[in-house]
């Protein structure tokens, strides 16, 4: 009895396909509507060229980050969302610590989702803007490979920009 309307529903909307994305870092799986997932150019290319199986493995992206990416895609796949709504939702997604943001920017880059790449890059830039370079090095895990002389020369080249920084 209960299955009848469900069958009917499936029959009337057979085009509503779903895809399963699987994080290869912690094996978490996410079932998403195809049109939501296709906002990723990388996934779209896989689907278009028939390279995608039932489960699409996503390497190097953790389940936590993948959930954020999917949230972004869902928001932007909603045709009735206003520009203001989307802006607010985007701000919520990128209101994260810098390490999560770096993971998110790598994910956006890998999955090729332009809008997410933009908002995440902007947020990272905003959060490192007035930081001393020593802190930026730490956050990005950048090893300073300048010799002290070289570093002094780089600094002297644009010394105006370093005024007020240690």
């Amino acid at each position: 009895m209960a299955s009848a309307p469900e069958n009917e529903k499936n029959a009337s909307a057979p085009e509503k396909k779903t895809l399963t994305l699987k994080s290869m870092i912690n094996n978490e799986e996410f079932v998403v509507d195809e049109h939501v997932a296709l906002q990723s150019v990388t996934i779209k290319n896989m689907v278009d060229s028939d390279c995608a199986g039932d489960v699409i493995p996503v390497p190097t992206i953790s389940g936590e980050i993948l959930a954020l990416v999917i949230e972004y895609c869902k928001n932007h796949a909603n045709p009735s969302a206003s520009e203001d709504d989307l802006k607010k939702a985007d701000a919520g997604i990128v209101a994260k610590d810098i390490y999560t943001l770096i993971d998110l920017v790598l994910a956006a880059n890998f999955l090729d989702i332009k809008g997410l790449l933009e908002v995440t890059s902007q947020k990272i830039a905003d959060s490192i803007k007035d930081l001393p370079h020593q802190d930026v090095r730490e956050i990005f895990g950048v090893e300073n490979d300048y010799t002290p002389e070289e570093e002094a020369a780089v600094r002297a080249e644009h010394d105006w920009a370093f005024e007020g920084f240690p």
Partner: protein, 399 residues
């Protein structure tokens, strides 16, 4: 980089301990060059330049930025600021790699012939590198003019000129220009002005802010693809005739004094016209209203729309109109007619604010609002049919 060193470093460092898994820590240092550059491009110039000190890998990123923004007023107040600013731009330009330059902005208000020559060399560099958006707020001086290559650029999509002594060249051809913004420009020669507008066949947005048109005579705009036209805080329109040949015009925001005349040819697609006539020309002269009526069919509107942002892409069409503010309201028949028109048609209107002020003519007689009038106006306002059930009318007056 030495991985074990890095892990050791991260373990010893309390800040890094907060971060997620070790795998992701290791990836931080391998942020691809392209991605690093992308992030740096969102930084103000000063911070972008500072990134060169992070490590060798980062040393040249600031010479491949898509947006080159040079603003004298934002440059730190260092010793011999002017020399340092000029030196900085020279350095940035001479070291640019082959990356695409999307935007070049120069805001530099120092009047001096030598600087004008230097400035023009920088601008020429940007144009030769196929810049897409060029933003210049500067002055040229009596004998100098902008490099003429700007006006024949095939790559330019956006051009913002804040140059009050702008001299236009004889040859103009901007086939891909979509947005032109003129700020504080003195437009005095109607032939060269007309030529500028008619040499941009792809133009979609035209903004004129705080421009001076006292000596222009005729503002003739022939632009087949123009969709948005904004005139804001310009002066001298009362001496000027506006001739529009813009068949695709969709929004026209007008905030200036009443023009001598408006000829719109036949604009079939205007669906929103924002007009706010300064009170130097009272509504009661009928002039303003007839000028607006000439702008084809309704909906025409005479009001000043208070906007939250300077971004004119947010201009709401009548169907989306939520707030209306009419200033210098006197309650004369024409004004009431406009109020009624808006109330009858704006379906989602939330608030209409009418701000009245008592005024006196040169003989000292009251010509605007008075107590008797307020009562009768109130009565008329309440009787008007409102298309939006939420619409509220706020009528305030200063006596």
């Amino acid at each position: 980089m030495d991985l074990s060193m890095k892990k050791k470093q991260l373990k010893e460092n309390p800040l890094s301990k907060q971060c997620v898994t070790l795998e992701s820590e290791d990836r931080l240092s391998t942020l691809p060059e392209e991605l690093r550059r992308h992030i740096i491009s969102f930084l103000p110039m000063k911070d972008a330049v500072r990134s060169s000190i992070l490590s060798r890998k980062w040393s040249r990123i600031c010479y491949s930025l898509p947006n080159l923004i040079f603003e004298f007023h934002r440059f730190p107040n260092v010793e011999s600021k002017l020399d340092r600013f000029v030196e900085f731009i020279d350095q940035m330009i001479s070291r640019q790699d082959d990356s695409r330059i999307k935007t070049f902005k120069l805001a530099f208000w120092v009047e001096n012939e030598t600087f004008t020559r230097i400035k023009n060399a920088w601008i020429t560099f940007a144009v030769q590198r196929n810049v897409e958006n060029l933003i210049l707020t500067t002055q040229m001086g009596k004998t100098q003019s902008l490099p003429s290559c700007i006006f024949t650029s095939k790559s330019l999509k956006g051009l913002h000129l804040g140059i009050h002594d702008l001299k236009l060249p004889t040859s103009i051809d901007l086939p891909n220009l979509k947005e032109l913004v003129l700020m504080s420009v003195i437009l005095a020669d109607h032939n060269s002005t007309r030529k500028l507008f008619s040499s941009c066949p792809a133009l979609e947005t035209l903004v004129m802010k705080t421009c001076d048109l006292y000596h222009l005579g005729i503002l003739a705009i022939s632009a087949p693809n123009l969709k948005h036209f904004v005139i804001q805080n310009c002066s001298g329109f009362y001496k000027c005739e506006i001739n529009l040949l813009t068949p695709r015009l969709k929004t026209f925001f007008y905030h200036a004094d009443v023009p001598r005349d408006i000829n719109t040819g036949n604009i079939p697609f205007v669906n929103t016209v924002f007009l706010f006539f300064e009170n130097t020309h009272p509504w009661s002269t009928n002039h303003s209203f007839s000028a607006a009526k000439e702008l084809e069919q309704p909906p025409y509107m005479l009001f000043y729309l208070e906007m939250n942002s300077q971004d004119f892409s947010h201009i709401k069409l009548l169907n989306h109109l939520e707030y209306v503010e009419i200033r210098n309201f006197e309650g004369c028949d024409i004004e009431l007619e406009i109020v009624e028109f808006l109330l009858n048609n704006a379906k989602v209107l939330v608030e209409m604010k009418l701000i009245a002020r008592e005024s006196r003519d040169h003989t000292g007689l009251t010509v605007g609002i008075n107590c008797v009038k307020i009562r009768s106006i109130n009565k008329k306002l309440l009787a008007m049919r409102r298309a939006s059930s939420r619409a509220k009318i706020l009528f305030s007056y200063i006596m």
